[in-house]
Point group: C2
Chain length 144, copies 2
DNA sequence: CTTTTATTGCAACTCATTCGCAACTGCAGG
DNA sequence: CCTGCAGTTGCGAATGAGTTGCAATAAAAG
């Protein structure tokens, strides 16, 4: 099916990017990359560990954390620390976006707003700053 | 001096608000409220503990945390968990605002943007949600 | 295949924050 | 002013996410 093909492709693309950065591709890292590519939700480290172990039960939690750090510094994944919960991860394939967090289901919805982005830069400039990174999260509930 | 008077007033206002909520005003809580009222920066729990102990060295860290929880649920203080750092606190006297965090000095600058606020609500609505709370933080560096 | 050196699993550790519990203390009522 | 007791406290132990030291292992270069 198409999704699986895409994920395979995405995992390969990430592996390629890492190889060219001189990152050694171990069995464990491949498993983690595969899981990340297949995950449309935003899993946390424990969930990724659980999923990665299905493919290779030798993967330890420590390695999941270490791998996520490497992938983050290489720009392959993004880490999001939402309010009062362990950090969650997603592949960094899509361009920048912000998040709506459904307070009831904990589901995460992505959105972008060039307008808000522009306003942020302008506010920073007014205060003599330039934006290095930002965090915009809307904690929401479904409207009745 | 004026500032001290204001702080005294602010601490009293908070005490009053708490009393009317049926919160017992202990020596330790008064010390913590006083410190919070005097703090223009955004101290974390350990810093508040250090400052509160100057007035009353019996204040324990556990009590600082417990008091901050009470004050937060009573709407008297606000907790902010910025990236990769312990939570920081401020009195909830001023109306809602967002934050610029100076990555070099860790200083916090407050700002508001009704325009961004409006856009957030609109985005949430477009996705079938209503905003319960949000978090907007700009991690910045001074412009050269 | 061997070597070199990054990576791994494990268990022990850190750090912010919370909790159990016995001792203590505001404060409502005498 | 004095009492009683439910709400609070200090202490130390516990928790939970995330990190780290170390000896064993395994990519990848030759």
């Amino acid at each position: 099916m198409a999704e699986k093909d895409d994920c395979g492709t995405e995992a390969e693309a990430m592996e390629e990017a890492l190889r060219s950065e001189g990152v050694r591709l171990t069995r464990q890292r491949k498993a983690i990359l595969q899981v990340l590519a297949e995950s449309a939700d935003h899993p946390d480290a424990h969930e990724l560990h659980r999923r990665a172990q299905e493919a290779d039960d030798s993967v330890s939690l420590a390695t999941v954390y270490r791998t996520l750090s490497v992938l983050e510094t290489k720009g392959v994944v993004q880490r999001h620390a939402f309010e009062g919960a362990p950090a969650r991860f997603e592949t960094a394939d899509a361009p920048h976006h912000d998040h709506i967090i459904d307070l009831d289901s904990r589901e995460v919805i992505e959105f972008t707003s060039p307008e808000i982005e522009r306003l942020q830069k302008e506010i920073a400039r007014r205060h003599g700053y330039e934006v290095v990174s930002h965090r915009l999260e809307l904690y929401c509930r479904r409207r009745r």
